[in-house]
């Protein structure tokens, strides 16, 4: 598009849900600074068919482009729990494995251990419940994990 004198923003795109692979703060910074020119809102998303989509709180330079996801409560709840004791939540900022509970009219899956790990995040004004940042493949399974949309 740039070769033709245009850009993502000039094409009329105002927002992007991005997902399907691991999102790092650096890649997000690169995309926001250099591809989107700060004119297009991009929100990385995290999720699967059990959870639905967890959006991130706004990603900012001030927070080092940290990506913190909040599950779509009340349909799905995520907790960050101790690697060895899955009933024990870790402290805020501490690392643990993502545990997902899904409760919809059609479907109830309690305490499903995801194949991801990350850091437990404080609630945010728009999403006043626990979040998770730095999501990456669970280190004990990482080599066997296929990342992406499937």
């Amino acid at each position: 598009m740039e070769d033709q004198g245009s850009s993502i923003a000039d094409a009329g795109i105002t927002g992007i849900f991005s997902g399907g692979t691991e999102f790092t703060p650096q890649w997000t910074r690169f995309a926001m600074e250099e591809l989107l020119d700060d004119r297009v809102y991009m929100t990385p998303t995290y999720g699967n068919t059990l959870m639905g989509l967890a959006c991130s709180r706004p990603v900012t330079a001030e927070e080092g482009y940290k990506i913190s996801y909040y599950a779509p409560q009340p349909r799905a709840v995520i907790e960050v729990v101790d690697f060895d004791d899955n009933d024990q939540r870790v402290g805020y900022g501490k690392t643990g494995r993502v545990k997902l509970t899904t409760l919809t009219k059609e479907f109830f899956v309690p305490g499903f251990m995801e194949r991801d790990e990350g850091e437990r995040e404080l609630p945010y004004k728009k999403y006043p419940w626990d979040g998770v940042s730095g999501v990456r493949p669970f280190s004990e399974l990482a080599e066997a994990t296929t990342v992406g949309v499937y």
């Binding site: 740039e2 790092t24 703060p25 650096q26 890649w27 690169f30 995309a31 250099e34």
Partner: protein, 483 residues
């Protein structure tokens, strides 16, 4: 601790992702290096033509002078590096700490780079076979013999995917700047030192910073270099060579399988050549593609192997700051073991004998690294698998093979030293297309004549000699133009 940024056409960029590089023996951090991603590099390549434009504003003669000054700064100066400064001693100690190469070898490599920079005018004269260098700037001109010639740059910059384990390779890309092409460097994870120090010296000497980019990173960055640069060089093993074979935009540098061949007319005097053979095998810790990994002769091979083993078999690992240290460490855990396992498997083959066995175990494991002591193997025929192996330490197979079968049997060879006064054998060696550099006579494989191209001529890779015509009345104008 030093923080080393990405350089994007001369501009430092601190990534949110960084890698700590550590001392190979102690694990102590030496620097944190910002990590690029492929997208960032691809985006920067949109501005690659500016690198060539900036360099073309400076006449080639002036660039050469600045490079010569840069060589002195690189060898002797205290230069900016990331958020700190670096003396020449710092450089050698840091490079040694992360690559496992003894400090004195790091310093010797600095001398090599200095030599190339300080003789850049002669290097370019040799690489271009005496071309008026302003022809590279303008794209055409008149050669000394009065003929119009045209050399068209095939890319605005050269991309390089550099190795961690052989700091000597950097001499290959130094002539690129005075040819007025930019540089896109992806350093080896353990060896960011030379690209950064060299760039720092270049910029201090007045080379435009916007001509050089450095992108430390993982495999996707290397792939992006090859995908984004119209001309690039990569260093790797046999799989890398196979992958890019036949790709005119990629020059691959890998194992050299360099050899010494003794003709039937001289082999009875083999003792005269033992010093030359030993130096070719073990100097610079046997790491270079120009180190000898095979000695081929029709007779006396067992005696030759025994004599080499006697000289290099007793060598043991020493601390990297010991001026007598002759061996570099394998800094990636498990590498020394994997190599030794492969050698042991080959040693089981009939007709293969381990000649350094009597000098003690070859594999020396430390907590965080490993060493392999010099290894000499005798093969009583070229069919042995180990006769065609090369490893990145002083390793050599001495192979018994009739002279009339030797040239066909040796396989691809980067440097062949053919020692013979037999005109027919010399003629056959000269004609062998699978030999890249031929030393005809008793010249160590590791002895480089810097005025000879190394593994493919850089000028031929970066420029295309093409037909070009201008009306005769414009010829004087062409001939008086300057670069």
């Amino acid at each position: 601790m030093l923080k080393i940024p990405i350089l994007r056409w001369g501009k430092p960029y601190e990534s949110l992702e960084s890698e700590e590089i550590v001392h190979f023996e102690t694990g102590e951090p030496v620097a944190t290096v910002s990590q690029a991603n492929g997208g960032l590099l691809q985006r920067d390549m949109r501005k690659a033509s500016r690198a060539r434009d900036a360099l073309r504003e400076i006449p080639v003669d002036e660039l050469i002078k600045r490079l010569q000054h840069a060589g002195k700064l690189y060898l002797e100066g205290t230069l900016p590096l990331g958020d700190g400064q670096q003396t020449p001693d710092d450089f050698a100690v840091q490079q040694s700490a992360t690559t496992g190469l003894p400090v004195h070898m790091c310093k010797a490599n600095m001398q090599k780079n200095f030599f190339v920079l300080s003789h850049m005018d002669q290097m370019l004269d040799a690489l271009t076979r005496g071309l008026d260098l302003s022809i590279l700037t303008r794209g055409y001109g008149i050669e000394g013999r009065g003929v119009v010639v045209s050399y068209q740059a095939q890319a605005p910059c050269l991309g390089l995917v550099l190795p961690s384990n052989s700091p000597g390779v950097h001499t290959l890309w130094l002539p690129v700047i005075p040819m007025q092409l930019g540089l896109v460097l992806k350093p080896g994870p353990q060896e960011p030192w030379t690209p950064y120090r060299m760039t720092s010296a270049f910029v201090e000497a007045g080379i435009p910073a916007e001509a050089i980019s450095i992108y430390p990173g993982s495999g996707d960055v290397g792939a992006a270099v090859l995908a984004s640069c119209k001309r690039s060089m990569i260093f790797g093993g046999l799989p890398t060579i196979e992958r890019y074979r036949g790709d005119p935009s990629v020059q691959v540098h890998g194992p050299g399988f360099s050899k010494i061949l003794l003709g039937d007319d001289v082999v009875d005097h083999w003792e005269e050549y033992i010093d030359l053979i030993v130096d070719s095998v073990y100097l610079n810790s046997g790491r270079g593609c120009i180190n000898c990994s095979g000695v081929w002769a029709s007779r006396h091979t067992r005696e030759i192997a025994e004599a080499i083993a006697q000289r290099i078999g007793p060598i043991e690992p020493l601390p990297t700051d010991d001026p007598n240290a002759a061996l570099a460490a394998f800094t990636v855990p498990g590498t020394a073991t994997a190599i030794w396992n492969a050698i042991e498997a080959d040693l089981r083959e009939e007709g293969v004998e381990h000649m350094t066995e009597r000098y003690g175990k070859r594999k020396v494991e430390h907590e965080r690294c490993g060493y392999l002591r010099p290894t000499v193997v005798h093969c009583d025929s070229p069919e042995a698998a180990i006769a065609h192996k090369e490893y990145m330490y002083p390793f050599v197979s001495v192979v018994q093979c009739p002279q009339n079968k030797m040239i066909d049997a040796i396989g691809p060879t980067l440097v062949a030293t053919g020692i013979t006064d037999d005109p027919l054998f010399a003629h056959q060696l000269t004609d062998a297309t699978h030999i890249d550099r031929l030393n005809l006579g008793p010249i160590p494989t590791i002895k480089l004549d810097w005025l000879q191209p190394h593994e493919g001529n850089l000028v031929e890779f970066l420029f295309r000699a093409r037909a070009f015509q201008v009306p005769p009345e414009q010829l004087p104008k062409v001939s008086t133009a300057t670069g």
